[in-house]
Amino acid sequence: MDQQPVHTDEFSNGNGELPVRPHYVTPAMSNAIPTLRHSGMTIGRFFWMHVLGGAFPVVAGLMLFGWRALGVIAAVMGTAALMHPLWRRIGPHGRQMRWSHTLWLALLLSLMLPAHLLSGVVEGESNVALWPMLPAAGIVLVWFTWLLGGVGSSRVHPVILTYLLMVVLFGPLLVPHTVLRFGRVFLGDVNDAARTEQVVAKDPWKQTRPADGRDAMWREPASQRLVFFTSGLHPAWMSLEGMLRDRIPPLEDLIIAGQPAPIGCASNVAVIVGGLFLLYRGLIDFRIPLLICLVAYGALLVLPIPVVISEGGAQWLWLAGRQQGVGWPLALTFVNYEMMAGPALFMAFFLATAPAVRPMSRRGRVVFAILVGILTAAMQLYASVSFGPYLALLLVSLLTPALDRFFRPRALI
């Protein structure tokens, strides 16, 4: 063979190459430092970007609940950070634990808790100091994470298990009743509120001007109002229309901000923005939160709800919107309140999209989201608005292995 030298040439524009950005380089990878054969993504970067998405509800929570909210977040995350290296040394489960994952879970848990937990004995409210619950929550969370096999192993969300355990043990103590006044956001003390007889304010939060000069306002949360009504145990005669008209705060306060709630669930707008950030970064699948919300909304319209509570009991009606005396506007208003008063959106964006909890295939995720949506509506109506969505996710996530096996991706060939 002729082995004569090869002559070459280069382009005037450089290397003779044209830059391309392939489809598989997602927005999530844009901040990573790629090598020739790898995107540069790591597990740490993956979960730290989730934390960035969580920053939006964190800021909203700090605004509405002040420094106590920051303390709650710091206490839970700090405890989890201290416990992580201890449990990481224990067995193969410990080796599956990662810092970024543990801290992300701790942030999620802290966002599900109310800010008033960072307090001692509150006169008239509790006989015990509440703050020990926070480090206990961090410890239990890390233990559950270890028990369930660390990152990627568990189909059950350790945050949900921890929270539901707290609900079982300390249920009434977890109900938030206070929110900072509009003029004292970020800086005020959320426990500085006087309990009043006017438990429901019909004015929007921004326009409320308490005369007592305190930092915060005491309010019955909308979720509790709905639980009393949908449980059918309301002591006096009450109609759905009356309840929505007189006994529940303005819907805008639930959507934007201004009502007592867990730290991360106080502003559904912030939750949605955080979720959209995660979507934009390609970290979560849009199908899950979208379908959960749509299906839950539809299910709430269909499932039986009490339209009147009287001495003889509650009158339950399917598809209340079609019933005389109720009508679609009223039914839709009720469903809006159900969706906004509880943690349904928070669960849909931040918990149901967790990597190990949801199925891998698209069809599996669709079925998963539909089931979560239906169960969310049912649990909110018949169990509790406050923790119904979490319970729904816990139950459906037990089916994820079956969904993975049944709904594998449809291969090309």
Partner: protein, 374 residues
């Protein structure tokens, strides 16, 4: 074909640049400039089987050879033509590595040969579809003569976005014709004769100029130095010698053929032949220990053939071929995208290849067993 959704990041895919196509330099003073054919003469008679056989022998004897992802086993395809009709002749001007425009550059410099090659194969096979697939954007400006010639010869020019691994035979056939070609099988099994630009140019050169194929157009990409060399390498020349002649230092560097993500190692002592035409040279990167799978699903999302690479790795770890079938082992085209995107740095492609070896061994054992019992 909606094989996957493209996720656009900050940059546009196929960013436009205004630059001339690369120039290939020749090899020896006598053949420094590989001559270009001035036009296409069409003396060939109407096709018949004997003519086809004759042409297959002529092309084989002329040194035609191509066995790469853009053009799988051209000789095998030609021989299958003798027993299996095709209805489509497809010439792909897209490259495995989209940033390297080797095929488009060949089309720019040797349009007559390329068109002749495609036209000839169309006439010989009697294919109803005679297509040339090219990438839009900058490269489309290099294909003026191809456009004109294709119009004259009634060859259809199709513009397609080249997003890796679009040029892979399985993905290309599915995109254009909705036909499902199993990986590692020949396109002629699905009624398609698939050529890349280099193979089409070789066919055209043998037909028009009656010259054997002695040169291979290749690109050497030195990632350490950040340069590429477009060269004509004498067939049979060692790659190390060719790279040295191209003033590229291959010493101490890893060599890979085709797209880098495929991780196909090439020995520096290998010779220029019918294999991959794009050779990457880079310094060995530090290995990173894999983490555990976090079930993010990015490998599933990124896979162009919609299999479950994480599930296949699990099957590889368990050495379970049934599980591998369940997760789509047969559909894997070994593009390597799963390994690229995995945050846990899992060796997904390596696991899949181990599974395929295991599957091949099992099939051979079964075939050997059935022969002995038969």
């Amino acid at each position: 074909m909606k094989r996957y959704r493209l996720r656009m990041s900050g940059g546009r895919i196929g960013e436009e640049r205004h630059g001339p196509p690369p120039v290939f330099e020749g090899i020896a003073p006598a053949k420094h400039q590989m001559p270009r054919a001035s036009g296409i003469a069409c003396p060939w008679p109407a096709p018949s089987t004997r003519v086809l056989v004759g042409w297959v022998d002529r092309l084989t004897g002329g040194g035609l050879g191509a066995d790469r992802h853009d053009c799988p086993n051209i000789l095998g395809q030609l021989h299958q033509l003798l027993t299996r009709p095709v209805d489509t002749v497809l010439c792909s001007l897209m490259d495995e590595s989209p940033e390297v425009s080797l095929n488009a550059a060949l089309a720019h410099h040797y349009p007559a040969e390329l068109l002749a090659g495609v036209w000839l194969m169309g006439e010989l096979t009697g294919a109803a579809n005679r297509w040339i697939v090219a990438e839009g954007g900058t490269r489309s400006r290099w294909l003026g003569e191809i456009r004109e010639g294709a119009a004259q010869l009634r060859l259809r020019l199709i513009w397609l976005r080249n997003d890796y691994p679009q040029s892979e035979a399985t993905v290309l056939l599915y995109t254009l014709l909705n036909r499902k070609l199993r990986p590692r099988r020949l396109p002629t099994e699905q009624g398609v004769l698939l050529l890349d630009a280099a193979a089409a140019v070789d066919i055209g050169r043998i037909a028009l100029c009656d010259e054997p194929v002695t040169l291979r157009p290749m690109v050497f990409r030195d990632h350490s130095a950040g340069i590429s060399r477009f060269v004509h390498v004498p067939a049979g020349m060692k790659l190390s010698d060719a790279m040295a002649a191209a003033s590229l230092n291959a010493h101490g560097k890893e060599l890979r053929g085709g797209n880098l993500l495929r991780d196909v190692p090439i020995d520096a002592e290998a010779t220029a032949g019918s294999g991959e035409l794009v050779i990457h040279a880079y310094l060995r990167e530090p290995m990173r220990s894999p983490d555990s799978c976090i079930r993010c699903g990015w490998c599933v999302e990124g896979c162009p053939t919609r299999i479950n690479p994480a599930g296949l790795l699990e099957a590889a770890q368990r050495r379970n071929l049934d599980l591998a079938d369940h997760y789509g082992l047969d559909s894997c085209i070994e593009c390597g995208i799963c390994t690229y995107v995995c945050p846990s740095h899992l060796p997904l492609l390596e696991g899949i290849r181990q599974l395929q070896k295991q599957s091949d061994r099992a099939m051979k054992q079964m075939a050997g067993g059935s022969e002995s019992t038969g």
